[in-house]
């Protein structure tokens, strides 16, 4: 996966970095950072509200992931374009307004074409505004970097987030109902669905276990960061 995204990134950030030749490397690092080494969910522990709330079913997780990717990319692009014009003191308000704009677009599109999903996600689409990942990328990356690389960064972080959502969503739907995307995987003859997994505590347990698993795999390096 990382290789594919790297290949796709080359032309994307080409014009923005001129002839330095660092471009490919920087784009690759940006993508890797967002997906793995600095993944917003398990390393920075950001944006977990919706990671917990919408992951009762895989389908919800996928839609939410797509919405977040769209919002991060677009808000990073606009904020990066405006980065030299936004006065430093009021930058937070400006950022929030730009993010809210794209969240409204998302919300209206969902309401128009995907009403059922819009009802299920409820307030959590609107809550992308306060998703710390979007805000965090705007603050930490888009304000200092040219537009195209900012979009790449947004896409990588959004994708890192969407993958976690999908993993937790798939796990909770499987454990909670024995099915994935509505298709029965674990036959009810021998598997009793564990209702707890689609209720609130299941979400906390699933994400806690995932964070611990990642920490265990990576030799507990990020414990210092989490502390």
């Amino acid at each position: 996966m990382t290789n594919q995204t790297q290949a796709g990134c080359g032309p994307a950030c080409g014009p923005s970095c001129g002839s330095t030749g660092l471009c490919g490397g920087k784009g690759f690092l940006t993508v890797k950072d967002g997906l793995l080494t600095n993944n917003p969910v398990w390393v920075q522990i950001l944006g977990i509200c919706s990671a917990l709330a919408v992951t009762t079913r895989l389908e919800n997780s996928l839609v939410m992931g797509a919405a977040v990717i769209f919002v991060i990319c677009m808000s990073n692009l606009i904020i990066s374009l405006l980065r030299n014009t936004i006065p430093h003191r009021i930058r937070i308000i400006v950022e929030v307004a730009i993010i809210a704009l794209f969240v409204i677009v998302c919300d209206q599109v969902l309401k128009a074409f995907y009403w059922e999903m819009s009802k299920q996600l409820g307030p959590y689409v609107g809550l992308i505004i306060t998703n710390c990942i979007v805000m965090g990328r705007a603050e930490a990356f888009a304000l200092q970097n040219p537009p195209l690389i900012s979009v790449v960064d947004g896409a990588a972080n959004g994708l890192g987030y969407a993958i976690i959502l999908a993993v937790i969503g798939a796990f909770r739907e499987l454990a909670g109902t024995g099915a994935i995307l509505g298709h029965v995987i674990l036959s009810p003859e021998w598997y009793t669905p564990n209702q707890l997994m689609i209720l609130a505590p299941g979400a906390f347990f699933a994400l806690g276990a995932l964070i611990a698993l990642v920490a265990a795999v990576r030799g507990g390096q990020e414990q210092e960061a989490g502390r």
């Binding site: 509200c49 409204i104 307030p123 609107g126 306060t130 299941g202 979400a203 964070i211 920490a215 989490g226």
Partner: protein, 195 residues
């Protein structure tokens, strides 16, 4: 729905439909600020105050937007109201208690992006509360969040003495403990219900 009394909604928002434990809102500051009991208490009070008043304000704003047929601007209006109000609280806290101001540090401005507050306003719209119900819901949601973070801070202070397995140290064990707390709060479920 519309006949539920504000008091019932207040109780339900604290216990059965806790904004944090049932709706997962406000997790970021919940995890970041629950290491010290006094910080948690201060932040809890600030959030209760802000949630209660902004929900009432947002109710009025939303009514105005609906009459003007500008409902799609709801999100921006809500976030602007919340941001302005937080700015006001920040100045107030700085004046009254500089010590609390320094201990809350960066998290006071971050109340703006505390999803519990925006989430409360959005739930208020979705559940079609009237004004009195919205006020009850706002304060209940804030108090519920404060209760959760205070309980969590107390637990985490005790947990400092426990031997937690290495991979679970830090955030992971906090999530598991929160899950157990959510299970405990599910015990209230039969009492009252709002949805």
């Amino acid at each position: 729905m519309s006949e539920t009394s504000a008091l019932v909604i207040l109780i339900a928002a604290i216990f059965t439909n806790n904004i944090l434990l049932a709706n997962f809102l406000g997790m970021c500051s919940f995890l970041a600020c629950s290491r010290q009991l006094d910080t948690a208490v201060g932040l809890g009070i600030a959030v209760t105050f802000v949630t209660g008043f902004t929900t009432a304000l947002n109710f009025l704003v939303q009514r105005v937007l609906v009459t003007l047929d500008l409902e799609h601007l709801t999100y921006i209006a809500f976030i602007a109201v919340i941001a302005a109000f937080v700015q006001f609280v920040e100045m107030l806290v700085e004046r009254i208690s500089p010590k609390l101001y320094y201990s809350l540090g960066i998290f006071l401005p971050l109340i703006t992006v505390n999803c519990a507050i925006l989430g409360t306003a959005l739930f208020m719209v979705i559940r079609r509360y009237n004004f009195v119900q919205s006020v009850g819901f706002g304060f209940g949601a804030g108090a519920g969040w404060a209760l959760a973070i205070i309980l969590m801070a107390a637990l985490r202070q005790k947990m400092g003495y426990s031997n937690v397995p290495r991979p679970f140290q830090g955030v992971a064990i906090a999530m598991i403990v929160t899950g157990v707390m959510a299970m405990v709060f599910m015990g209230f479920a039969g009492m009252v219900n709002i949805q």
